[in-house]
């Protein structure tokens, strides 16, 4: 049960942890009911349960220290590592809200990382006895080129889905396969290493004691949240997702909207690709962003956005990404073999999907609620 989306409700989204009654809910409903019915309840609860588990099972999980002027600790580590997934999930949320899907985000991550890494390259030059790192082209140009490549990918997806009317999963499957191949062609299948410290800042730098990547996520989140609040974008995306025919007859530019969400999704993935390659100081066309599309879709679903399109929650997707990363972290710290990770993840997915199933709810009620 999702809370109705409306401009005021965007404030709920922009307060990531905000559980509050929305203005539009009928009067007379208590705070408890509105909390109970809130769309974010389940993802927040799932995250809380995971953190609780960590509190008891992982010693020192909540400890935060300051080293070299930066905050250190498991929580920071999780948030930092979840940053690329959070970004991709944000883009994916809008695509899914239009009843689409984009399975090419992993390939876009590989492409943008590769383009950036190849253009930056970087060598150590001793200039007048001072060692200095020099990039192949100015870093700003390299970043622009990488983002340009990502936008181009998005435009391609958007063209196939919005203009040619291909089914989203097939349309983006093309780029999913071709995109990674293209990245591998560019690098001859080799890992491209970067020797240019300023670039690493994107992936592992710190600003005011917090990882720089988190600021990037926050910036993207703020931009979309503002768009939702100040424009009718949210309403239009939902209308297109629920009933594209009626939306077009009501005067919406449905094709342009759908094109936009695919471009936006690829842009998010492109940014995530920069983060990932900056973090590992290289571009690995074979493995960067591999299966990221599935994690992104999972994060969106965990966040309470239905794959059927329509209502969506940006904050939910961010929390979904955090759930996935926390889960991975927990499994590793409990000393469970990493192979188990996949199985545990699937169990979590199963439970969350079960909790969203209307059919299951009726069965549950019939079994337990009526008796009491």
């Amino acid at each position: 049960m999702n809370a109705p989306y409306h401009p005021e409700a965007a404030t709920v989204d922009s307060r990531a942890s905000g559980i509050s009654a929305t203005a539009a809910e009928p009067k007379g409903e208590g705070l408890l009911t509105s909390v109970w019915r809130h769309a974010l309840l389940r993802p927040v609860a799932a995250l809380a349960i995971l953190l609780l588990l960590d509190l008891f099972c992982v010693p020192g999980f909540f400890r935060l220290e300051i080293k070299d002027g930066h905050l250190y600790g498991s929580l920071i580590d999780i948030a930092n590592r979840a940053a690329p997934l959070m970004l991709t999930a944000l883009g994916m949320t809008l695509v899914i809200a239009t009843r689409g899907i984009d399975i090419s985000v992993g390939a876009v991550v590989a492409i943008s990382g590769t383009v950036a890494a190849m253009l930056i390259g970087g060598t150590l030059v001793i200039h007048n006895g001072v060692p200095e790192y020099v990039s192949r082209v100015p870093m700003v140009w390299a970043l622009c080129a990488a983002m340009g490549a990502a936008l181009l990918c998005g435009a391609w997806n958007g063209l196939l889905v919005a203009t040619l009317g291909l089914q989203p999963i097939i349309a983006t499957l093309i780029l999913m396969v071709a995109g990674r191949g293209l990245a591998q062609l560019l690098t001859d299948g080799q890992i491209v290493t970067v020797y240019y410290p300023p670039y690493f800042y994107l992936g592992s730098g710190y600003l005011f004691g917090l990882p720089f990547a988190l600021y990037m996520v926050a910036a993207v989140f703020l931009v979309i949240a503002l768009l939702m609040r100040k424009t009718a974008l949210g309403l239009f995306i939902q209308a297109v997702g629920i009933n594209p025919v009626a939306a077009r007859l009501a005067g919406l530019k449905t094709a342009a909207l759908i094109f936009f969400v695919y471009v936006f999704c690829s842009a998010c993935a492109g940014l995530a690709g920069l983060m990932i390659s900056a973090n590992i100081k290289s571009a690995d066309a074979n493995n960067a962003g591999l299966l990221l599309e599935l994690d992104a879709i999972l994060a969106v679903t965990l966040g309470g956005t239905s794959l059927g399109g329509g209502k969506f929650s940006l904050a939910g997707s961010v929390i979904g990404a955090l759930i996935i990363q926390t889960l991975t972290y927990t499994i590793y710290s409990l000393g469970v073999p990493p192979e188990v990770n996949m199985v545990v993840k699937s169990v979590v997915v199963f439970l969350v999907c079960l909790s969203q199933s209307a059919e299951f709810k009726t069965v549950w009620r019939r079994l337990f609620v009526r008796k009491s």
Binding site: T231, A232, G310, K311
Partner: protein, 533 residues
């Protein structure tokens, strides 16, 4: 209650004391119904009277909270539609629920394929399908996918599916809402044949004419209760409507208020001169026609959909478009609105040529369009009433200029009040409203854009008598305020009563343009049917 009852044999199906409560709503209370073999029994009532709920109880979709269902003297409690069907209760639903990708024959025998040696006997299935459809005088290729045929044929397929099980009771839930007159006649002759064979038929409809054409008896429901059971011959139309409504219909006062409000909303920038409504409420349609038309279409056509036609529509004029299903009415509307692209001809608005390549263009030119398919082309079901109301206006303003939330609420509240939309709050999702109320919300969506012309394609389809009357009152009131209205309806009396001018369509061509009063039911029927009138 009914004098003829003594002569009838024992009822084949008898419901008594049925109660059904939904959270917050009492859907059925103490409802009874008797069905005799060899009769057509019509169930009538407004939307929300409990007809659909009663049928769902009867067919096992809902379990009643209390009450008895007796079939052939044996109490039954169907828990699924399949069980009801196996007991001999077959149903054809209002919305055709078949599988469009399967063939006609497969649709008829789905789940009960004839088998031979453990495998599906396709030849027998097709043979039987052809025989069944021939009973309904439908001759089509049963191996073709169902989606290839128009809705009316699909309805026939649904009926033949219901007939193919050895049914004792046949329930038809508004089977005629998507059929045109000749198809209705065909359906009725089939029903009469079944009645001769002793079938008990329960027929649900909103159409009075059809009720009187086919029924033996009528059960009227109101507010979840049975109002009474009557022999058809003993109940006059007026009495029937009164019993359904429970009060005399009067929405004209509300309609006048709405029209005034809409006129005020447009900030007086209606390009058309509105008549002085203190002098006369009626714009002189002759005077209006001598002025240049608001919309002029010349040679407008689309290959395979509509032969080129000319249409003039003046401000303050209600132009009725009638014809059979598939005669090109909806196609005309869609071309005028830019929903489909015309490949010939031109449209000019207030003297300026404007060719629409999308609905956006038409909306920008001041046109609104209520589609005939409310569920798929109108309402955005999961969105709230408020969001549905403001959608077109927001699209017209552009995405970046969001309507402030307070203003959205005010707009939605005003229209809910003016149009008398029955909804708990404006944040209720439109999907939970009844058909008539959804239609009002969609009307509000277009009124909010302050249109100068409205295209209404079957605005009263599938909604109850009272809402129908209300909507037509609003429409005529808007028209008097100077709005140009193109009105499409399958209900001939409705078109004849409201329109200033009527264009009759046949075989995707316009075949006549008549002023008010030049036509009566019979002559229109002749024109529609193609007789030289």
């Amino acid at each position: 209650m009914i004098s003829a009852a003594e002569k009838l044999p024992a009822p084949v199906l008898e419901l008594s004391g049925i109660h059904k409560q939904f959270p917050g709503v009492k859907a059925l209370s103490e409802v009874g119904l008797r069905l005799y073999p060899g009769e057509v029994h019509t169930l009538m009532g407004q939307n929300g009277a409990g007809k659909s709920t009663l049928i769902k109880v009867l067919t096992g979709v809902y379990a009643p909270d209390s009450g008895r269902i007796v079939l052939d003297g044996r109490e039954i409690r169907p828990s699924s539609t399949l069980e009801a069907q196996n007991l001999g209760i077959s149903t054809v639903y209002q919305e055709v629920n078949l599988c469009p990708n399967l063939s006609v024959a497969e649709n008829i025998f789905i789940g009960r394929y004839p088998r031979r040696w453990g495998r599906i006997d396709w030849a027998a299935m097709q043979r039987q399908a052809v025989t069944l459809l021939r009973q309904l005088q439908v001759e089509i290729d049963v191996t073709a996918p169902l989606s290839r045929y128009p809705l009316a044929i699909q309805q026939m397929v649904a009926i033949s599916r219901a007939l193919s099980v050895s049914a004792r009771v046949l329930i038809l839930d508004e089977p005629t809402s998507s059929l045109d007159d000749s198809e209705v006649q065909l359906l009725f002759s089939v029903l009469r044949g079944l009645r001769e064979q002793g079938m008990a038929i329960l027929f649900v409809t909103h159409f009075l004419e059809q009720t009187y054409a086919i029924s033996d008896r009528i059960t009227v429901m109101r507010n979840g209760e049975r109002e009474g059971e009557y022999a058809c011959s003993e109940l006059s139309r007026l009495a029937l409507v009164n019993k359904m409504v429970g009060a005399t219909v009067d929405a004209s006062a509300a309609a006048a208020e709405l029209a005034a409000a809409v006129a005020a909303n447009t900030d007086g920038d209606l390009r058309c001169a509105t008549a002085d409504d203190t002098a006369s409420t009626m714009v002189d349609s002759k005077a209006a026609q001598s002025a240049p038309a608001f919309l002029q279409a010349r040679g407008l056509g689309r290959k395979g959909a509509l032969a080129p036609l000319d249409i003039d529509l003046h401000c303050g004029e209600l132009l009725g478009l009638c014809g059979l299903l598939g005669s090109g009415r909806t196609e005309t509307a869609r071309l005028l609105f830019g929903a489909d692209k015309a490949d010939s001809g031109s449209i000019s608005i207030a003297g300026r040529v404007r060719n629409f390549s999308s609905p956006r263009d038409a909306i920008a030119a001041g046109i609104g369009f209520c589609s005939e398919d409310r569920k798929h082309e109108g309402a955005i079901l999961e969105l709230s009433v408020r969001e549905n109301v403001i959608l077109a206006l927001q699209a017209k303003r552009g995405m970046l200029r969001a309507i402030p939330f307070k203003q959205q609420q005010a707009l939605a509240r005003d229209y809910v009040k003016w149009l008398g939309v029955k909804t708990p709050t404006i944040e209720t999702s439109i999907g939970s409203l009844s058909g008539g109320n959804q239609q009002k919300v969609l009307l509000a969506r277009w009124l909010a854009t302050s249109p100068e012309m409205l295209i209404l394609d079957e605005p009263t389809r599938g909604i109850d008598v009272r809402a129908k009357q209300e909507i037509m009152d609003y429409v005529t009131a808007l028209c008097r305020k100077g709005m140009a209205i193109l009105f499409i309806s399958s209900e001939l009396p409705e078109v004849l009563r409201c329109s200033d001018r009527i264009v009759v369509m046949r075989d995707r061509k316009a075949c006549g343009d008549y002023p008010r009063g030049a036509l009566d039911d019979n002559t229109v029927l002749q024109v529609i049917a193609g007789a030289s009138a």
